[in-house]
């Protein structure tokens, strides 16, 4: 059963990493922090995150046109915003992926 609030937008994030290196673990942690923060503002049921290891699934990286790891992208129709770089800068990541409350609310009510 879908327990999302009526009109809520599902946010789907996909993180590409290389294995379980120190860098990859740092990116995974940053994604968890981001997920917690988004859950606080939009509700847990609206967020779905997945992590893809390029060493396990290089085809997925090719399909999503990933040029380097770690890359975090927001899935959806049209151009999918993606971020490369320092994911610990949560506010900047939220802005770059258009995950700020205003953008998400506008998208949900469009």
């Amino acid at each position: 059963m879908d327990d999302r609030p009526v009109g809520a937008l599902m946010i789907r994030l996909r993180l590409y990493v290389t294995g379980r290196t120190v860098s990859a673990e740092r990116a995974r942690l940053a994604l968890r922090d981001l997920e917690r923060r988004l859950a606080h503002t939009t509700g847990e049921s609206t967020i779905h995150c997945e992590v893809i290891d390029v060493l396990d699934d290089p085809e997925a990286a090719e399909r999503d046109k990933i040029f380097a790891t770690p890359t975090l992208l927001r899935l959806g129709p049209g151009v999918q915003p993606r971020v490369f770089g320092d994911f610990s800068a949560t506010d900047k990541v939220i802005g770059a992926l258009k995950l700020d409350t205003k953008s998400v609310t506008l998208a949900a009510t469009a």
Binding site: T18, P58, I66, V83, S88
Partner: protein
């Protein structure tokens, strides 16, 4: 000044990286094989290394192992196709704790600058990507 070392046996690739990175304000050194790359890394202590895997002589995989031993804190981007013969040895390296990230060949100048900015911070202007991507520069370099 942030230093970047590029290790690649292809002279054209080395110069493409040099042009992109110097344009962004990084100091660049290059090496045409693994042995000279390791010597450069030991002498110059770069802030970032781009490493080609497919090189004659000391292989890219063995070069990466030695870079990890000599400069364990220096981030390394392995530049390769995401497919093929290197997946298994790369998986073996990362299972042994060797820290690296992957970049897909070929890279554009903007992508090269984005990797440097994202990993070791910006020197010049923020690289602007197409296809909806944004670089968040590192503040931890």
């Amino acid at each position: 000044m942030k230093r970047v070392l590029v290790i690649d046996d292809d002279g054209g690739v080395r110069e493409s990286f040099r042009a992109a990175l110097e344009d962004a304000g990084y100091q660049v050194s290059t090496a045409e094989n693994g042995v000279s790359g390791i010597e450069s890394a030991q002498a110059e202590r770069p802030d970032l290394v781009f490493l080609d895997l497919k090189m004659p002589g000391l292989s890219g995989v063995d070069t990466l192992k030695q870079l990890q031993d000599t400069c364990p804190r220096t981030p390394v981007y392995v530049v390769t196709g995401f497919y093929g013969e290197f997946i298994a040895p790369l998986r073996e390296l990362q299972s042994r704790g060797v820290d690296f990230n992957l970049a897909r060949k070929p890279l554009t100048a903007t992508e090269i600058k984005a990797i440097a900015a994202g990993r070791i911070g910006m020197v010049g202007p923020l690289p602007v990507g197409g296809d909806g991507w944004t670089t968040v520069p590192s503040v931890h370099s």
